[in-house]
Symmetry: D2
Subunit: 300 residues, 4 copies
């Protein structure tokens, strides 16, 4: 588990999937990873929400994973594997395992949202974790899961499963409530799913964050983590404010299309989102560029 | 269009997909279709919500469609094709077209629910309808789509698209509001997505219904339609009450697992739902059996 | 009870409270009632949602009731009495009783929305009904009550209380579900709380409606009821569509401020809503005037 | 403003209103205040959510304020004044001003929730603040206000009003987002509305908290603030966890009825909540007593 703690620490980028005219642009994904490899990010989430994984066919998902396998170097890789049925999710976990990645991130099913109570969700995560060749991170993201929330008591119970090593919390209120409920000695690691509550969550025991802004501003996101670890709280709080304001203007306003636009501005290759999502217009792109400059971050 | 109106009328069963131990049981699907073919149902929705289509792999979806192609006889078949990206949805529509089915039913994307405003949804349905080889039915079901609702004005605009022939409305309030907004002379057909509001919707101009209860009690559901068409409103209202009460105890309480249990009781083969959904326990099955008997419907 | 049934039938206007510069304009309320008395409306709801009762001080509520007492003539009067505590609600019911009005309409408490489960709500309505000198209509309006919904089973149980004579349902889905659950022989009367589902609800057994549009177009609303009672369903459906479209443009878009503007257009005196609500601007008023003309209703 | 900053700091108890058999028990309120006066709490919120102010008649509210005036000693007193209309709210603010209290706390109107957009809310708070004799704290509590949220941009604009001195944020996600958006040099003070996010909010610039648990465990809540101010973050985090767990079991589970039960256990006089809320049964009270002991807090 020491190994797991050392891997699940710091900042991860939930890598985007670049498109052009509705088609995957794998060379741009490769470009991004090569460039992000130069930063101090701990690693990547492949096929996460910002990777638009639900908008990809199975074949396309495979191609994306191949790029990660080829380019990951010494970075840690988590793979988003959550599907609607346990059967499908296990299939994806097995695939991630064959590639030799590090973790799977498993979102709650939500099509039958009304049925997804604590009991059903407990059964789901247990069955997935019993079988998954890779350690499991629960992914709690009601905004992407039809409002489905994993009840805190269910999370507490799941935290004792030997193959469930943590949770990425992207619920609107962040992981603060969860962190106060969990026993701090437990071998269960909490990752913040948004830069908005990444810094306060660190004060409460979170070990890191998986934050969309790390696609465009990886070093600034890492720096926030670094300041916290060195008890430089005043500087950290100032950086937290700058990054949160920026995040509100990017992901908070435009979702993944905004993240991609910000990447194009800071020297990465975000590309287009896949339809029905749409790329930002020039005015919105300029607005993001201005915000990045206002908050004193550099652009490409 | 006369042809379309004659096809989009009366009652459709959104066929379930039987499982046993997490595996598809295609022979039970075949059995159900052969038996439902004997009834006065107009047709089927294949790969709909009650078909647990989001819980099936692509290969499994293909197998299900093959059974429908083999067994459909003279019934009308709609195919659920809604995915998260326009790209995937069109791929499914093309597949349904190759089989020579009659309509596609297209659910709203919802993973990026916050982004799914009227404009994005309009673009989505237009692009799908521009390309689909089969006429498109919009499927409005916020309960299965993270709360995403298609704004009435968007529906109104989409109703003029030559390849969009109607809507299946399963929103909590049913199609009443929609029916009062749409021009009654329009070649756009409204189907009720629940037995709860099927009968009142008929009074407002709906042409039929796609109702889960038709899997277990096809003739009773058809009879309600028949009574309405013959202006026997008192009898119709009484039957409407009986079916609605029953539906509240089956689908309203247990979702697709309840529909499957009811089918087992009335002589069809519902089988198990796929995990994380669970089959009903004996007590719940008996409760459903009692309700069916209380409302004077026959069991197998 | 025969008496109650005869009183709870047809169309009621939930009378608005006219303001000017934040002050009550009682003479305009008087004017409206005198004019509405000439119509075939069954009666009024005083101090309802459209009466902005929660925006009035206790003294102002008293003044409003005095006007109703003086002007009601042979019309039936219900009084909105729902407060946050049982204690306050009973105080208001007693006040309504002293005036000799006909019914009280009691909205669910909702400040502590999270606590308002079926059990608490049952206790609330029972205690109010045990004490109220006037027969009680339950008022189910989650849109005005922080999303609080009375569970159908709770309504079913309350329907047997001798002093609870019915329900006004303004939930988004209307009373259709409720009407299919209740025993049709029960001495419990269902009123539709919106013109949108008034007509279909009549087909399912509703006895009447309390609809905001009746403030501006009382005869047209009554006519819809009249057509239904005379089995002229085609004409009724057409009128239902016209009124529903209009309602979407008035109350559905602007709430009570829209209802007041519509009244000013059709010859009543709506006046201003109370701040923080705002009167409509000229452009919006003209839009409503156009809609009224488009749907062929007459204006003053 | 220096004065205001010194007053708006540390921990406030949102005092409960004790009832017995539906009647106010003013001597128990007096008892609580006398005893809380001995603690290091900064002050009280009178007539807040935990004071069940919406369940009190105007006369009863007056009596409660009289007790506060008589017993407050050197404590700071805020008064909950939010009503549905600007007119009523100003009336309450004037009343609070006559008593010479320190601040008013103004909840968003919510009856017409659908209309309560940023523009309407801005107008509301501006008009109230223009007139109020006491400085205004905005009270953002969607859980008690039908889901109405004040948009962050509206809060930002209101923060510049000379008579709006801060905000109490009780939204589910707490004030973290807000704190990152506001300019830290602004004379606008953020108070956490729940012990759950009080400690992390302090790290982000919040100046204090108004937390229900301070009614039962005032010194422990103050201690958390004290530890933070002295940079004893490890101890603070541990105490934060203990208090948050306890709060989940008390207010989080039972609302104000739980807070009152906890007060009875720790030596205060919570008394009964007012109907339709109900006092806890013995089993639930014992559960709370056990939790208090488990987390090593003392009971009376």
């Amino acid at each position: 588990m020491t190994d797991i703690r050392s891997k699940l620490t710091g900042v991860f980028a939930p890598a985007v999937t670049p498109f052009f005219n509705e088609r995957l642009v794998l060379k741009d994904l490769r470009y991004n990873l090569k460039k992000l490899n130069q930063t101090e990010l701990t690693g990547y989430l492949s096929l996460g929400s910002n990777g638009e994984y639900k908008s990809l066919t199975d074949k396309e998902q495979l191609k994306v994973l191949e790029i990660f396998a080829e380019e990951k170097e010494n970075k840690i890789v988590m793979v988003g594997c959550g599907c609607e049925s346990t059967h499908q999710t296990i299939e994806k976990c097995n695939l991630a395992g064959k590639f030799g990645f590090d973790f799977v991130s498993v979102l709650t099913p939500s099509y039958f949202a009304k049925q997804m109570d604590g009991d059903i969700l407990k059964g789901y995560f247990q069955k997935v974790a019993d079988t998954s060749p890779l350690p499991v991170l629960i992914y709690n993201a009601p905004g992407f899961a039809g409002g489905v929330q994993i009840p805190p008591k269910t999370i507490e119970r799941l935290s004792h499963h030997p193959n469930i090593v943590g949770i990425k919390d992207s619920s609107p209120s962040g992981p603060a409530g969860l962190l106060s409920l969990l026993d701090p000695n437990e071998e269960f690691h909490v990752m913040a799913g948004s830069i908005n509550f990444f810094y306060p969550a660190l004060h409460l025991g979170a070990v890191g964050g998986i934050v969309s802004l790390a696609n465009a501003l990886p070093q600034a996101c890492h720096e926030l983590y670094h300041l916290f670890k060195n008890n430089r709280f005043d500087k950290a709080n100032t950086l937290h404010r700058r990054l949160s304001k920026l995040n509100a203007a990017i992901s908070g306003t435009y979702g993944v299309a905004g993240v991609k636009a910000a990447m194009d501005i800071t020297g990465y290759r975000g590309g287009e989102p896949r339809h029905p999502l749409r790329p930002l217009n020039k005015e919105d792109i300029n607005m993001i560029r201005d915000k990045i400059l206002t908050e004193h971050f550099s652009i490409a």
